[in-house]
Amino acid sequence: MPHKEPGLDERTARDDEDARLLAEGDHANLLAAYYPTILLRLRIRRLPIDDAEEVRQRVVEHLLRELQGGKTFSVPFRVVVHQRTTWELLDYYAERKRRDALVAEEREHASPDEFERVGSDIDFDRLLAELPDRERQVAALRWQQGLEVAQIANLLGIEANAVHQALFRAHGKLRESLG
């Protein structure tokens, strides 16, 4: 039995579950899993609650149409959800004239496979990929599984201080890449 690295397979499990729900046509279960997170992302962007609900409805309706139309995706469903949310958010900004025309130009998704250029990784993956394995593992154990620093230290056989440093570096990378 292959050794499983702790902390690095959480999203694979989610992707597998999504693939199963997609195959079974269980759209309610699939969309219900992402429903709260879509709103969270919109609220973080300071949309008023009724606007956020409006945008969320558009996201879900769009996804539903694609699912019911039998569309297949070249990326995991979580990426589809988050990218669709980002696009709807950009539409919202463009319509509210909160951003200039450049924002609208960013949103090029008219190709037959609009997810073709998106890729299956998101910013967070890319920046974590730049970290050494151990730091990436620490970040996943902390921010995907919610473990205490002491638990991570025990699990990986390292000092608590090393866990703190790894988290701090991962966070620093994130700030750097988003800045």
């Binding site: 989610r14 279960n29 973080i44 609650i49 309706e61 998101i122 921010w143 966070h171 988003l178």
Partner: protein, 192 residues
């Protein structure tokens, strides 16, 4: 090595990963001038973190929503409660006189159908309703927006440009006059 943004991000991420529902907006408020930066970080985090598996209630409400049914009605039915029972609970929890029951019932039914502007409904109504329906007010508010009639989406048109989907803020009846029940469901009276 103290970094308030790191602490806020780390705390939020850990709580989210543990299945809690930390209020992201509160975290942004605590970030002060770093709010925009924290917003970027939390947004990236939420796209990366695995979505929690939906519970049975969330799936049921989503099924209702997908079927074009108001989720709040589905929730009440699922809890085995009749409209009159809910209205009685609401009246009690909101401290309203029994003479207000009729108006309260009509407003509740409008809320349940999704024909009220949810943003104007007083938080106390959702808190009271949450108690009656044995759920949280945030879940109720989240599902108080019914599926729109125009599910065959045309071009996006957001609030301000689109046709109104809810009834205007008018009292349920003219005869009874404006009172505290109107205010609870329609917000403060304006332009009077």
């Amino acid at each position: 090595m103290a970094d308030p943004l790191f602490d806020l991000f780390d705390d939020y991420a850990v709580r989210y990963a543990r299945g809690e529902h930390p209020d992201a907006v509160r975290y942004l408020e605590r970030a002060g001038e770093g709010a925009d930066e924290l917003a970027d970080m939390l947004d990236a985090f939420l796209q990366w973190a695995p979505a929690p598996t939906a519970d049975e209630l969330a799936v049921t409400l989503m099924e209702a929503w997908l079927a074009g049914q108001p989720p709040l009605r589905e929730l009440r039915v699922r809890r085995g409660l009749r409209v009159d029972e809910i209205v009685g609970e609401l009246r009690s929890r909101l401290g309203l006189d029994v003479s207000r029951s009729g108006k309260l019932r009509r407003y509740f039914q409008r809320l349940e159908r999704g024909s009220l502007d949810v943003s104007r409904v007083d938080q106390r109504v959702f808190d009271a309703l949450a108690g009656a329906l044995r759920t949280s007010s945030s879940i109720l508010m989240s599902w108080a927006y019914p599926p729109r009639a125009d599910q065959a989406l045309a071009a996006p048109a957001y609030r301000g440009e689109r046709e109104p989907t809810v009834a205007p803020a008018v009292p349920v009846t003219d005869e009874e006059g404006w009172d505290e029940v109107d205010e609870l469901f329609l917000g403060p009276r304006t332009g009077a």
